[in-house]
Structure formats: C-alpha cells, structure tokens
C-alpha cells in the first residue's frame, strides 16, 4: 500500500463543491426569480431560490464550470458522459452574474430565451416582494404591473 500526499486542485466539480463547503460561509441572496412556464399556463408562478452554498461558490470563483457546459449537457442523453463536472472552473462572479448563471442553468430555455409572447413570464425581484401570505399560493401569477412581484 502506498500513501501519497500532494497539493492539487480537485479535478471533479463534486470534489470542488466539497472543498468549497468546508471553506466558504453560505451567502443568502437578496433576490428571487419568479417565472411561469408557457407550456403549463394553468400552473401557478414558481419562485426560484438561489442555494446559499452555490452563491458562495459563485462569488468566490474557481469552483463552478462555464455555463456553456451545462447548456451543452442539456443535449446529452441520459447515461452518456457529461462535460460540466470535468470543465475548468471559472473565476468569481458578481451577485447579479450569479443569478443570471442560475437562470440559464436551472430554468428551461423556453422561458428565459425562446418565449416570444407579450406576457412577462420571468422577473428577478428582491425577496421582500415575494408574498409572505401563502393562503392562495396556487393562484400566484406574475403581476404584469412593474411595481409588484406576484
């Protein structure tokens, strides 16, 4: 049996996430992404909450892969090798850039890229604009006036 100790940057994304979680304090985003899916117009508006550990990794840099790798991996069939876990990590992002990265990663392109209707189906809003009363949660829609979120 041999034991080797060496100073190396983790090559796999999952290992970088492990290392980042042990080193970085979580960062709570002040923003939420409200969106509706035009393919299911009867469903309520959805609210995307950025993960605090993801935000910490994004703001610190050298953990997450380029967003293009996730986009290419969308086209890879299940079970086939994917690119994003092995891609070289990118540098630090701003808070705004991290939210844009999340939108492109976790929301379907049919919502943030391809939709051509007149209705506003996605908004990035301060967390204070998300209603705290959930009595009618399943009726939430994005307010088409600019000052209110839902």
């Amino acid at each position: 049996m041999t034991v080797k100790s060496q100073q190396v940057a983790p090559q796999h994304l999952w290992e970088r996430l492990l290392e980042a979680k042990s080193r970085l304090a979580p960062v709570q985003s002040k923003y939420r992404v409200l969106f509706e899916d035009p393919a299911t117009p009867d469903e309520p508006a959805k609210v995307l909450v950025p993960d605090p550990n993801f935000m910490a990794a994004a703001l610190a840099g050298n953990v997450l892969p380029p967003i293009e790798t996730y986009q290419r991996d969308r086209l890879v069939p299940d079970g086939e090798p994917k690119e994003h876990p092995y891609a070289e990590p990118i540098g630090a992002m701003s808070g705004e850039e991290a939210i844009e990265y999340l939108v492109m990663k976790d929301i379907d392109p049919s919502i943030w890229r391809d939709y051509q209707g007149n209705r506003c189906i996605m908004k990035i809003v301060p967390v204070e604009l998300i209603p705290s009363d959930r009595s009618f949660r399943n009726a939430w829609k994005i307010n088409q006036e600019m000052e209110m979120a839902a």
Partner: protein
C-alpha cells in the same frame, strides 16, 4: 488541498476499499423550508417553490442518469414531533421535485429534507 491516495481503509480489524466509501456517500442532500429561508444543503444550486407542498431541487453536479436513490422526510406539522416520508417525482439527472402531505392528506409547506445516493456524471 491535500490528497490521500489510498486503495483501502482499515481500523486494524476490518478493511474496506475506498471505492466503498466514495460510492456509498450521499452525493447531494438538503434541508429546506418551502420558501428557502431556512436552509442547508450540499450539491444543490437552487430550490424552486413550485406550488403548495412542492419544491424542485436542481443539482450543481448532475447525476449520471435518472437511476439514483431519493429519501426524504418532513415534520408532519401537528406538533407531535412526528416525521413522515416525502415523495419525489419529475426526476431527471439534473433536478427532482419533492412533495409532502400531512397526516390528514393535504399537501403541506412544512420544512423538508432529502438525501440522494447514486452515480455522478
């Protein structure tokens, strides 16, 4: 970051291959409220509040395929410190939706947890 490159781990009596440790570890986990205000996790990039009782988790490092194991639980909200199993649907290698019901059978916004085992991409 220091790396120990070993093929086996032993306590002096029992020896196991490190592949058992690596492959047997949870690859993602989360504990979150419906709106993400109370939160801890690993390998999750976002939680989406889909509707009452439903939240969708997106993985930072996706799984290799849809064939991974999901285990979840939540407080039943009755104040009796009872936990109930959570359910999962709309699973892919990149996201999964978790849903929970109270003991009376209605969907619930109680905080919930999830642990996920399987092969990574």
């Amino acid at each position: 970051m220091s790396t120990l490159n070993v093929s086996n781990i032993t306590d002096g009596t029992t020896t196991v291959g490190t592949s058992y440790v690596v492959n047997g570890s949870a690859k993602a986990w989360s504990w979150h409220s419906h709106d993400g205000t109370d939160y801890n996790s690993f390998n999750v990039s976002s939680v989406t509040d889909v509707s009452t009782g439903l939240t969708r988790l997106a993985w930072t490092n996706s799984f290799s395929s849809i064939s991974y194991a999901c285990t979840g639980a939540h407080d039943d909200g009755t104040g009796n410190d009872e936990s109930r199993m959570a359910g999962f649907h709309s699973k892919s290698s990149t996201v999964v939706t978790e849903y929970i019901y109270t003991s009376s059978g209605s969907v619930s916004d109680q905080p919930r947890s999830g642990v996920f085992h399987g092969d990574l991409a």
